[in-house]
Amino acid sequence: MPERPLSPHLTVYKWTYAMTLSILHRLSGIALCLALIGLIVWLSAAAAGPAAYAAAMSVLASLPFKALIAIALLALCFHFANGLRHLAWDIGWGYERAQARRSAVLVVAAALLATVACVLLLFRAGAGGP
């Protein structure tokens, strides 16, 4: 490959909210890839029959997996909210610095609230399983 110009490395920029949310969008996306594997394994267990499903649910009901499901819900809520922010930018809305900061705060607040609601639904009594 021929020598090409390199863009300046990340370290030369002052760190901003926008950069934090940008890297969190990637991290939550990667977390959601793992959650998607979990969803498909869970579906496959349900397809395999009652015994396999019961085994899968007993694993999911353990504390570490409960925590992982909660983290996956947090990743989903954040990726969802920040994804809407990206779509808004795509149609040209919200590029002003003040607007981008406000939408960043809004995304984090909405993601946290939605996660709390999801986790309450997940851990509500009487549903069985995780």
């Binding site: 021929p2 990667i30 959601l32 579906l43 349900a46 639904l121 549903a127």
Partner: protein
Amino acid sequence: MSLRTPLGRVLGYGAAHDGVTKWLQQRVTAIALAPLSVWLVLALLGLPTRDYAAVTAWIALGLHPVLLALIVLLALWHAWLGIEVVIEDYEARAGLRSLWLLLCAFALALLAASGIYAVLRIALRSGA
């Protein structure tokens, strides 16, 4: 008429001219996944009970198998577009980059086939 020689064109200079395709696919899958993911999460978390009978009956109900198959495919396609960019950004060594991309592509294809098969198996068994 272009002044570029054919050799110049194939040496790796210039844009690939299909960059916007993946950008657009990422947006289209995102827009489709937005309502579908809300439905899936709220419906699954809101199931009255999570035992085998309740869950498989819900999966097989009405259009649910179609929507679930759609979610599996769209989510994996959206995931692939993201994974591809992450690998291309952080793996500078060309050989390893190709290896990671190949492994992830195979893994996602396997997940797509497994997901669709699982949904169909539950739907066809319960619906019959």
